[in-house]
């Protein structure tokens, strides 16, 4: 492959707690090219924290360390806040998990979308407005003019999530980290949104980190999948091989899903094992 967009080695995020140092992320390593990289894992496995760490958004007293964290060949590890700010939004962006709390309740949707675009593109108000309306249209919002002037509480959760995506994509970032971007969406809308991201990856060569619970979705949408457990990557697979995963954790996750196509009496339940906590798979490079 060509130079990876993002290259991460041994990323660790830790929080001091009463009962000692808690490691939310324990040595995650991966490379991201112009591809769709899925990250799955159960709740609390450190998916979001990995994303935040890349953007330098882990709040004190949390600590981020890594052996390497390069963006386009340049280290972004422990970059001063001002330099980091220049990257955020413009080069790496992130769609936050919960649209209900992630949009500013007292700013109109339009203002919020235009804000980041204007900041990074240096364009004037007119251009920003056009761009924002375009983005809203692109994420399948039917009445963009109305939504542009609406406040977050006036749109539904699904719309909120789409707005979030529009907002983060407006400045054309090189890398988008999407943290469960579709969990609140109806299936039909979900597919539209996935299509947009898909297009950006295939046509513009954006790198996408797609965080999700939904293994089936990840298997179909992504190129490559990281499976996380307790702050570590326990397995890394090409998406098409997901259903042949070897790690019992991955298998367990897959089996526990109810399926439309065939009826089961009882769902399989994941039996966690302590031994999973401390095995790191060999690092594989991106597609």
């Amino acid at each position: 492959m060509s130079d990876p967009l993002l290259s991460i080695r041994d990323l660790r995020v830790s929080f001091p707690t009463r009962s000692g140092l808690f490691q939310a992320v324990r040595g995650v390593s991966f490379d991201l090219g112009r591809e769709r990289l899925g990250v799955v894992g159960e709740s609390g496995s450190g998916k979001s924290m990995t994303g935040r760490a890349i953007l330098g958004l882990v709040r004190p007293p949390g600590k981020v360390t890594a052996e390497r964290m390069d963006l386009g060949g340049q280290s972004i590890l422990n970059l001063p806040e001002s330099k980091m700010r220049a990257l955020r939004g413009a080069r790496i962006s992130m769609v936050m998990q919960d649209p209900k709390f992630s949009l500013n309740p007292v700013m109109t949707v339009g203002q919020q979308i235009m804000e980041s675009y204007r900041l990074h593109s240096g364009q004037g108000g007119r251009a920003a407005r056009d761009k924002a309306l375009d983005m809203l249209r692109a994420v399948q919002i039917r009445d963009p003019e109305r939504v542009f002037d609406a406040y977050p509480h006036e749109v539904s959760g699904g719309m909120g999530q789409r707005i979030m995506i529009a907002m983060m994509l407006a400045p054309d970032p090189e890398i988008l980290i999407a943290d469960e971007p579709t969990s609140a969406l109806d299936v039909s809308v979900r597919n539209e949104v996935l299509r947009i991201m898909d297009k950006l990856v295939t046509e513009r060569g954006m790198g996408l980190i797609f965080i999700s619970h939904d293994l089936n979705l990840v298997a179909q949408f992504c190129d490559r999948v990281l499976i996380m457990y307790a702050g570590q990557v326990v397995e890394e697979l090409a998406a098409k091989d997901l259903h042949n995963a070897r790690h019992p954790y991955t298998q367990g996750l897959l089996n526990s899903l109810p399926r439309l196509d065939h009826q089961v009496d009882r769902l399989a339940v994941l039996q966690r094992q302590d031994s999973w906590r401390d095995q790191t798979p060999p690092l594989r490079s991106g597609a």
Binding site: G89, A90, M96, V106, L119, Y151, M168
Partner: protein, 339 residues
């Protein structure tokens, strides 16, 4: 549709306003009657004979049943007549026209100072929670709270007036300007501007700045603490992270995003603190010989001058109610979530 709803809203607000004012009048009246101070004494004086006392008692209508007294009182108040103050000899309404602007001017300037210093201080303290700015802000606020205001006031006078000579002394004006500016609003700063009398304006400003700073300090203490606590709540909200993800500068994140969200509760806090100052900071007024409503009411209270007490209370209470109303309206304007 919208119009009708708004009309209904305004109607509701107006109704509750009227009810509150009525309640205020009633409570004021009752308090006036149960107060352990004999208003007749002030009228007749220390040397009065019992006959003089009884005559005054009747003249003041105190021998009538309470409800009659209240009705009479209501009727008078509705006519804008609060009676005559027995401690100044003037009609209460004239007294209020004189003392209220003095307090209003002082309180307004004080609140402005409190807001312009306290809000940024609170915001910065929240942004740097636990840092040295936060600690200093806390100590500054607490000193403002716990140092007796007349101590600070007199020390301020001693330093800035007595030693440095930077500001004017006690009182609202220097004597050469006293009574020189025609009274329009009763607020000398504004009146002197209206009259384009710069000398008088400068003089009045040099007199008001110290007490206003003091009151400003006091309200700053409160405003900055509340701002800090509101901001802390907002800064931990997820949308703040979103703003950071966009690459916005910290300033933009704090002022453009988080701060906008605290405006509504902040306005309530500011309104309350302004209302508190309108009630009159008696000690400040005493120290600075500021002929304001706080001194007026307190003096009247001590003298058992119930007409003045009630008039002043109704005025202050009305201001409070209006402030509430204004902050309510601002809330509706500023917060898109308000129904």
């Amino acid at each position: 549709m919208r119009l009708r709803r708004r009309a209904k809203n305004v109607g509701g607000v107006a109704l509750s306003l009227v009810l509150t004012l009525l309640g205020l009048l009633l409570v004021t009246f009752i308090i006036g009657r149960v107060m352990p101070i004999d208003p007749v004494l002030k009228v007749v004086g220390e040397r009065a004979t019992q006959a003089q006392y009884d005559a005054a008692y009747q003249a003041m209508g105190l021998d009538k049943p309470l409800w009659q007294q209240f009705l009479r009182y209501m009727a008078e108040v509705l006519r804008g007549d609060f009676g005559r103050s027995i401690s100044t000899g003037h009609p209460v309404i004239d007294d209020l026209k004189r003392v209220f602007p003095a307090t209003f001017e002082l309180a307004a300037l004080g609140t402005l100072i409190g807001v312009f210093v306290g809000v940024p201080l609170g915001v910065i303290a929240a942004a740097r929670r636990g840092g040295w700015i936060d600690q200093i802000a806390r100590v500054v606020a607490l000193v403002g709270y716990s140092m007796p205001i007349f101590w600070l006031g007199l020390m301020g006078l001693l330093l800035f007036y007595g030693i440095l000579g930077w500001v004017g002394g006690p009182g609202r004006q220097g004597i050469i300007y006293d009574g020189m500016v025609p009274t329009v609003t009763g607020m000398i700063l504004i009146d002197s501007l209206l009259a384009s009398d710069w000398g008088a304006f400068r003089d009045a400003f040099s007199h008001i700045i110290l007490p206003a700073s003091l009151l400003g300090y006091f309200s700053l203490a409160y405003i900055s603490r509340m701002t800090r606590s509101f901001m802390l709540e907002q800064l931990s909200a997820e949308y703040v992270t979103t703003a950071r993800v966009k690459g916005l500068s910290e300033r933009r994140v704090i002022w453009g995003h988080a701060f906008r969200n605290i405006l509504v509760p902040l306005i309530t806090v500011i309104a309350l603190s302004f209302g508190g100052l309108l009630e009159g900071s008696v000690l400040t007024e005493i120290v600075f010989s500021w002929p304001g409503i706080g001194q007026y009411i307190t003096k009247a209270l001590l003298a058992g001058d119930m007409n003045a007490v009630l008039g002043g209370t109704v005025l202050v209470g009305t201001c409070f109610v209006l402030l509430n109303l204004i902050s309510d309206i601002l809330y509706r304007v500023l917060d898109p979530r308000a129904k």
